[in-house]
Symmetry: C2
Subunit: 335 residues, 2 copies
Amino acid sequence: MRIGIIGSGSWATALAKIVTDNGHSVQWWIRNEETIRYFQKRRHNPQYLSSVYFDLQQIQFHSSLPELIASSDCIVVAVPAAFINNLFGELPVDIFRDKQIISAVKGILPEQNELLNQYLERVFSFPLSQYFTLLGPCHAEEVAAEKLSYLTISGTDGPTVESLAAIFKNEYVNTLVNADIWGVQYAAVLKNIYALGAGIVHGLEYGDNFLSVFISNGAREVVQFLHASANKRSALDYTLSDYAVSVYLGDLLVTCYSLHSRNRTFGNMIGKGYSVTAARLELNMVAEGYYAARCIHTLNQQMGCDMPIAKAIYEILWNQVPAATAILSIQSSLV
Amino acid sequence: MRIGIIGSGSWATALAKIVTDNGHSVQWWIRNEETIRYFQKRRHNPQYLSSVYFDLQQIQFHSSLPELIASSDCIVVAVPAAFINNLFGELPVDIFRDKQIISAVKGILPEQNELLNQYLERVFSFPLSQYFTLLGPCHAEEVAAEKLSYLTISGTDGPTVESLAAIFKNEYVNTLVNADIWGVQYAAVLKNIYALGAGIVHGLEYGDNFLSVFISNGAREVVQFLHASANKRSALDYTLSDYAVSVYLGDLLVTCYSLHSRNRTFGNMIGKGYSVTAARLELNMVAEGYYAARCIHTLNQQMGCDMPIAKAIYEILWNQVPAATAILSIQSSLV
């Protein structure tokens, strides 16, 4: 099976490392031809995880997306959600026919307010049975350092999920399998909102005690949202210990607590008094939680879950409510 | 109502601060008369939270426990669980008659393997209806700094729980109420095991990714234990969002992640290669998780929950299994 990777950020680079370390070749799409030339000369990514060196014999680079797709059977998408429509919007509608797609996207498409599978189904009639996700509490920096991490492959086709899990498993990555293709994606989207919020709370100089209340109530909101959305799909029900595993709660924790977390860093700046615009300019990157806050706010208008934290973060990011005021206003709602 | 406090550690001192800040007088038992004399001269605890100054007009010190009990209607017990039997073992059996007891004990009595309410019932026929707990994610250092914290009062007598909650609520402490007197105590005991384990994992140089897997699986074990023990008592059932609140999950998080956590520090030393004895000597204090690991191991022999992490920590602390070996052995059990 020919494996393709789309993206040149730290997460795409980490995934390329895992796959090539496991002895597979990869087709790798990188938009910028200069980056490709640098890579071919120096054997590492010029901007991200530059300590990771690759064996070039295992990699075929592409700067043409149709070429990458044609050269791959299974395509790993590892770009920010906000870039997806620009990348895929002009492609022929049958281009993904008979391909497998693994989403390593940690967000929701901001303009469309769709998960990647919804977008692919609408635009390309791409079937859910060929769609998988690769998620879990996994900062790319620790993959680069070969620190033990856990990733979860989710999908509706059990045997394929198992075989894909084998591609990513090695001595520093443990892979788990899961059938909850919708829930894992919503959990991944939601956690960015709470991590951004954790950064805000930290920036406002609340302490560890309050932070733990904030994050446990964030977990509570995720659980309620997943429960409501699962009921809507008449799919899974969530029990307590279903959620307290790495791909849901673990991912929330690492994103809220790790200093590697971009969402937390972005929130911290806002808590310290930066405007949203200034924080975005300064960081020069997309914090998925920024868009996620608006998307989830919209989705929850139909769902009606009680999500005071998500609402407060939305008000801070999109309605200019001062961070201190918004956090003060939810204190009596936390349990 | 006359409020008594038993203990002179950091948590007892923090509670005395909260109660006196709220305008109440306290009867305060401190074993060491020299500490009392220092306190009376300098207005602060010589050893713990020494930045917190008290108004001596609000405090009556006692070095005699019977005297403290006779002078109090409601007694807050804030000593390590391992000291309880030495303190209370020789008291007359009717000494607590008509008193209210609030347990701020974060552990289980190690020799008796009993929660404080079980011990009080067995030794003093003390009724559960007059027993309450004060728990939650609350490091004393942040109370001293007046950082916003949340505490939960639990008990079977709802109206009294509400009135006790009012005693502790102020601008830096939010109090919540809860009826699950058994579950909150088991959660408080269990979290020390996982925090000690988080320290071990950190000491062994695992990264943030693995730590989040470890802690989310710890949460999973707590949930399963609470569920099994609740079924045994035919009392509460636990749903997902019941657990994801401050007194359960929040307390686990702050204890696992905060550098204020003594259990985490103790575990970290073991992960770095200290023997259990050397770590205990070096820290010169009781890490509740040390005893909790053995007590929960024993309790779970009847309960039969799947608790690979708790078992591994028990093996490290009590059966001389090397930390690296024990953690390696559970990696494939984590989800």
